[in-house]
C-alpha cells in the first residue's frame, strides 16, 4: 500500500514520490467495537446492552481523564506517582466545596445554571489539582527523579498523608453529592434507558481526548512532549530545557486528575477520602494496558476497562472485581508493552 506525500517540501512543491503508507496499528482500535459486538449476544437484551455500553463508555471516559496525566507523567518523566490518586480525591472534595454553596444553581430546573455550577466546580478542582501537582513535583518528586523505589515509597506516603489531611479539613465521613437537577434521570431510546450524566461524561471525556490529541499532534509543545517521552536526553541535546516541559505536564496531569475527581464524585454522588486510592488500581491497569506514555493507548484501554467492568458485572458479578486484571493479563500476553508501546531509547 502506498500513498503520495502530501506535506509540502521545503522547495515549495509537494514531493510526488510514493512511499509506503504509515502503518497505523488499527487492531487495538478495533478492540472496543469488538467487545461491544461480542457482548451483545451474551447479554441477550438489546436495551440492557445499550445501558451497559453507555455506562461502560462513561466510566471509561472518566478513567481516561484521570489516567491520561499519569501515563504522560510516567512516559515523560519516568516517575511512578502513586500519589496521583490524591489529586483525584482533592479534586472531588474541591468539587463538593464549590457545589455546596451553589445549591440554588444545582437545584434549579435549569440546564444553564446546573452546567455553570458543574463547570465552575470542575474548573476549581482542576486549578487546585494543578497547584497541588506543582507543589508536589517541586517538594516531593524532584529529589527522587530516577530512583523508582524511593518514588514508590515517597508517593505512597504522600497519598496517605493527603488522605489524612482530607480527614482533617473535610472530616472523616463520606459526603453526599447529589447530581444537579437536570443531570438526574435518564433518556429513553426505545426500550433502552441511558442516564443523562453518563452521556455528559462521555461528551466531556471525548472533548478532553480530542483536545489532548490536538495539542500532542498539532503543536510544537506536543511534538516536544512526544519526543521527550521517547528520549529526553536527545531532546535536551537539541537545545530544549525539558525540565520545564516536565513540570508543565505534571501540573496538567494533576489538574486533569482533579477535574476527573469531580466528575467521578458526581457519578457516584458521594465523596470519600479513599476514593483516589481505590481508583488508582483501575488507573494503573489502564495505563499499563494502553502502553506507558501513550495517550491514545490510554484512551482505548480506559474504554475497554469501562466496558469490561460493566459487561462482566452484569454477566458474571462474582468475577467482576477481577475482570479488569484478567483483561490486563490477556492484553499483556498479546502485547507485553501494552496496546501502543512508546518507543523508548
Amino acid at each position: 500500500m502506498t500513498r503520495a506525500l502530501t506535506e509540502e517540501a521545503a522547495d515549495g512543491g509537494p514531493p510526488t514520490i510514493d512511499v509506503p503508507a504509515t502503518p497505523l496499528d488499527k487492531i487495538p482500535l478495533l478492540l472496543v467495537p469488538a467487545m461491544m459486538l461480542v457482548s451483545l449476544p451474551l447479554i441477550d437484551s438489546f436495551p440492557s446492552w445499550v445501558t451497559l455500553t453507555v455506562a461502560g463508555l462513561a466510566m471509561g471516559m472518566m478513567i481516561f481523564v484521570m489516567a491520561s496525566g499519569l501515563s504522560l507523567i510516567f512516559g515523560l518523566m519516568d516517575v511512578l506517582n502513586f500519589a496521583h490518586g490524591a489529586f483525584i480525591t482533592v479534586g472531588a472534595y474541591v468539587g463538593v466545596t464549590v457545589l455546596r454553596p451553589l445549591g440554588d444553581w444545582t437545584s434549579a430546573d435549569s440546564v444553564l445554571d446546573n452546567s455553570l455550577a458543574v463547570l465552575l466546580a470542575m474548573a476549581a478542582a482542576g486549578a487546585v489539582g494543578g497547584v497541588l501537582g506543582w507543589l508536589f513535583e517541586r517538594i516531593i518528586v524532584r529529589p527522587v527523579y530516577g530512583q523508582h523505589l524511593k518514588q514508590i515509597l515517597i508517593t505512597m506516603g504522600g497519598l496517605i498523608v493527603a488522605e489524612q489531611l482530607i480527614h482533617v479539613i473535610w472530616g472523616p465521613d463520606m459526603i453526599p453529592l447529589p447530581k444537579p437537577t437536570t443531570f438526574k434521570g435518564g433518556i429513553t431510546f426505545g426500550e433502552a434507558s441511558v442516564e443523562k450524566y453518563r452521556l455528559i461524561a462521555v461528551g466531556v471525556g471525548a472533548v478532553i481526548f480530542v483536545a489532548m490529541m490536538l495539542v500532542l499532534n498539532r503543536t510544537r509543545l506536543g511534538l516536544l512532549i512526544r519526543a521527550g517521552v521517547e528520549d529526553r536526553e536527545m531532546v535536551e541535546a537539541l537545545g530544549y530545557r525539558v525540565g520545564r516541559v516536565f513540570v508543565g505536564v505534571f501540573v496538567a496531569g494533576a489538574a486533569l486528575a482533579g477535574l476527573g475527581g469531580t466528575m467521578w464524585a458526581l457519578y457516584e454522588e458521594s465523596v470519600r477520602a479513599t476514593m483516589g486510592a481505590e481508583l488508582m488500581i483501575l488507573i494503573f491497569i489502564v495505563v499499563i494496558i494502553g502502553g506507558l506514555g501513550s495517550v491514545g493507548g490510554c484512551f482505548v484501554a480506559a474504554l475497554m476497562v469501562g466496558l469490561a467492568s460493566n459487561y462482566v458485572g452484569f454477566l458474571a458479578p462474582k468475577i467482576a472485581l477481577g475482570s479488569t486484571i484478567l483483561l490486563m493479563m490477556l492484553v499483556l500476553l498479546w502485547r507485553p508493552s501494552g496496546l501502543y508501546p512508546v518507543a523508548k531509547r
Binding site: 522547495d11 514531493p15 504509515t22 536527545m234 535536551e236 541535546a237 531509547r345
Partner: protein, 270 residues
Amino acid sequence: MTPAPDLPASMAAPSPLFSSPGGHDGRLEATRPALLSLSGVQTLIGPYHILHGVDFEVPERGLTMLLGRNGAGKTTTLRTVMGMWKASAGTIHYDGADITRRDTPAIARAGVGYVPESMGIFAGLTVRENLVLAARQGDIDPARLQWIFTLFPALKRFWTLPAGHLSGGQKQMLATARAIIEPKKLLLIDEPTKGLAPAIINNMIDALRELKSSTTMLVVEQNFRFAQALGDTVAVMDSGRIVHTGSMAALADDPHLQQSLLGLDLGAHQ
C-alpha cells in the same frame, strides 16, 4: 553539491586545506585556532573512572577523527563535551568560553550539534517532525532543507514516514540532518558508519565531506577506511587518555603507528 545556504560564498568550495581527503598537512593544522579544547578532563560514571585526563584540541573548520579501541573512552568524551556526563576534573573550552559546567541545552544552544551512537532519532515522529523539532529557532529554512535533501535524498522520499520505519542508513542520515538543520559551529558525531552497508558508508563519506567545508566536526569512528577518507586531524584514545594527536595523513601513512595505536591489521582495513 551546493554549500550550506547560510554560509559565505568563500566556503562554497572546500578550502585547499581540506581539498584532498584527509587534509594531510600537519603544519597547517597548527595554524588554525582551536574551536574546542579539552584539558585534563576526567569523567566518572557511577563508580567507574572512564576518562583519566583527556587533552586535545579540535581545530576550527575541518574534521577531527577521534579513534581508539572499544572502551577507550571515545563516546564518553563526546558525551562529556555535550554535558550529558559532567567532567569531575579538567576544563572544556568551546568557542572561547568555558563550558565545563554548562548543561546540555546550553551547550546545544551555543551551536554544538550531536549525533549519538544510537542515532537518537524519535521513532514515533515522522522524518518531517524530527527535523521540525530540531529547528529550534522557528520554521525550517527552505534553502537549508533543500541543501540537506541534496546531501540525503532519502529524507525527501520518506518525508512523512515515521522515523522508526527507516532503515539503519536512513536513520543515520536523519540523525545527521537533524543535527545540521540549523547552522552549527561544531558537530559531534559518534560512529556514523556503525552497522551500515558499504554503499551507505560511501554516501555518508560524500555527505560528511560536503559538510566539513562548512562545519567543524569531531567524529568518533572505528572504521579506519572511513576515518582516513575524511579526517584532517586525528586524536587517538586508549584507556581514557589521548595517546596520539596529529594529522590524519601522517597516521594513514604509518602502518606501524596504526598497529601500535589501534591494533589494526592493515590488510583488512585498507
